[in-house]
């Protein structure tokens, strides 16, 4: 715990110093986005379909099937999209970050960087942390669209609702604040995933077996950390909305 906070503090203070290695940050963002896009899209589409299907069966009892698209959108934007996207990003990108940094540490490449007087935190960690957080926001928006598309497939293509009804009722429960908060959640979860994975990867000691343990630990602990945070963020969200 203590050493993790020291690591975070060190990363933050190096962030303020020049140079920023902007091209590294952009490179990490684009590569992580491309790496995670396919799994996240494949996962979120069935999620939207399931929500629409369950919603359809429940709303049919009350004769309010038109609310299906509203329910799909609200459940995606408030919980499912940031949560599931972050789980997949932790499994895909977080684990590869800690594996890569762990392999570099084991092969003494990080020490070699330090010898060449390149700040390894600045050059390796900061671009990964910022890149993963930005990528998380981008992928989250795309996955939201995939989920809406999944709901569309169930409601319109399979259940024969008219598509105008689907699109018109998409935002009946939502406000402009929802997508904004959704992006904020994705960014924070991205920060958590990236800093934990790079912490575990950066501090590997030993060989290939320790790298494997670090990868496993980074995935599990980052999922636990952001699910814990999720509860407080949701509470905060509803308190802000009530004001």
């Amino acid at each position: 715990m203590g050493s993790f906070h020291v690591f975070l503090l060190d990363s933050f203070t190096t962030l303020l110093k020049k140079p920023l290695y902007l091209s590294e940050i952009l490179h990490e963002t684009s590569s992580i986005t491309l790496q995670c896009l396919l799994p996240v899209a494949i996962v979120l589409t069935p999620f939207g379909m399931v929500v629409a299907l369950q919603g359809f069966n429940i709303f049919k009892i009350f004769g309010t099937e038109y609310m299906v698209s509203g329910l799909t959108f609200i459940s995606l934007v408030r919980e499912l999209s940031p949560g599931v996207t972050s789980i997949m990003i932790a499994a895909q990108a977080g684990s590869s970050i800690s594996a890569e940094l762990g392999a570099m540490r084991v092969k003494e490449e990080i020490d070699a960087l330090e010898v060449m007087s390149i700040n390894s935190l600045k050059y390796l960690i900061i671009p990964k942390i910022l890149g993963l957080s930005f990528a998380c926001v981008i992928v989250n928006m795309i996955s939201l669209m995939c989920g809406i598309l999944g709901g569309y497939i169930v409601a319109v293509v399979m259940k024969g609702q008219s598509s105008g009804v689907y699109w018109d009722n998409l935002f009946i429960f939502a406000s402009w604040f929802d997508p904004l908060f959704c992006s904020l959640k994705a960014f924070l979860y991205g920060l958590i995933i990236a800093s934990l994975s790079s912490y575990y990867g950066y501090n590997v000691q030993g060989g290939a077996r320790e790298v494997g343990i670090a990868v496993n630990r980074s995935v599990v602990n980052s999922i636990l950390a952001f699910i814990f945070l999720n509860y407080f963020l949701t509470t905060l969200f509803f308190n802000i909305v009530q004001l």
């Binding site: 799994p39 494949i42 996962v43 069935p46 999620f47 379909m49 399931v50 299907l53 369950q54 069966n57 429940i58 329910l71 609200i74 459940s75 408030r78 919980e79 599931v84 789980i87 997949m88 499994a91 895909q92 684990s95 590869s96 594996a99 392999a103 084991v106 429960f173 060989g207 290939a208 077996r209 790298v211 494997g212 990868v215 496993n216 995935v219 599990v220 999922i223 636990l224 699910i227 814990f228 999720n230 509860y231 949701t234 509470t235 509803f238 909305v241």
Partner: protein, 244 residues
């Protein structure tokens, strides 16, 4: 390797598992594997399902508040929890914790040629290493889903009562009225499906890992990602079969 070859390889692997399951089964490994799969992933399943339950209560309360039925939060927590979230949480967390451990272990054995050594000693590696894992999954996954169900509703109850000031009698009464035993049963079936999927994918990735530490890392990563993706795609079909 192209995708089509990969699918063919996977089919051959499945056939080998089915053939091996008819032969001699190593019963003494089942207990150790059950410990690895069930007990090791128990704490994170409890933690994550508890925090999913809190959020179901918060979201359900606020969703029903706008249409004037905030006392329906119990129905929302129990139906969303038992039908969808608890099985998915159990499956995904077993995938992240035990699935990656299985893949990493088998991949390490593969690159150290220990699997070939087993075959040389005329011990069928699939019957010895993989079949006990499958039996362990069949035993432990339904239990994990039950525990996830409990903690989901438990934490939802406490959030509803103490944070949202919903009456505890109404909450429990709604759960009893609207939840049927088939919801729990289908949840258990879902958990079992996810567990078998994750176990198959993890064993396949481990057995076909590339050389060196990078190969082990890649196999572990693929096991988790492909396992989770397949689970959620399967979840749609199970839901469509039973609730449509």
């Amino acid at each position: 390797m192209t995708t089509i070859q990969e699918i063919k390889q996977f089919g051959i692997f499945l056939k080998k598992i089915v053939l091996a399951s008819r032969g001699h089964i190593e019963y003494k490994n089942i207990l150790a594997e059950s410990y690895l799969i069930g007990v090791e992933s128990l704490p994170i399943v409890i933690f994550v399902s508890a925090f999913i339950g809190t959020n179901l209560a918060l979201q359900g309360y606020n969703a029903f508040k706008s249409i004037g039925g905030q006392n329906l939060v119990g129905i929302f927590v129990s139906l969303a929890g038992l039908r969808e979230m608890a099985p998915i949480v159990a499956g995904a967390m077993v995938g992240a914790k035990s699935g990656s451990a299985i893949a990493a272990n088998l991949a390490t054995m593969k690159i150290k040629e220990q699997i070939d050594a087993l075959a040389v000693m005329s011990v069928d590696p699939i019957a010895y290493l993989i079949i006990p894992k499958f039996i362990a999954v069949i035993i432990t996954l339904p239990l994990l889903v039950l525990i996830a169900n409990f903690f989901c509703i438990f934490s939802g109850y406490y959030v509803a009562i103490y944070q949202l000031n919903v009456g505890s009698g109404i909450f429990l009464d709604n759960i009893r009225t609207f939840t049927t035993l088939s919801d729990v049963g289908i949840g258990l079936l879902k958990g079992l499906t996810f567990g078998l999927t994750i176990c198959t994918v993890a064993c396949y990735c481990g057995f076909n890992s590339g050389p060196g530490p990078e190969g082990v890392g890649k196999a572990t990563n693929r096991a988790v990602v492909v396992g989770c993706v397949l689970c959620i795609v399967l979840n749609y079909f199970v839901t469509a079969i039973f609730y449509d």
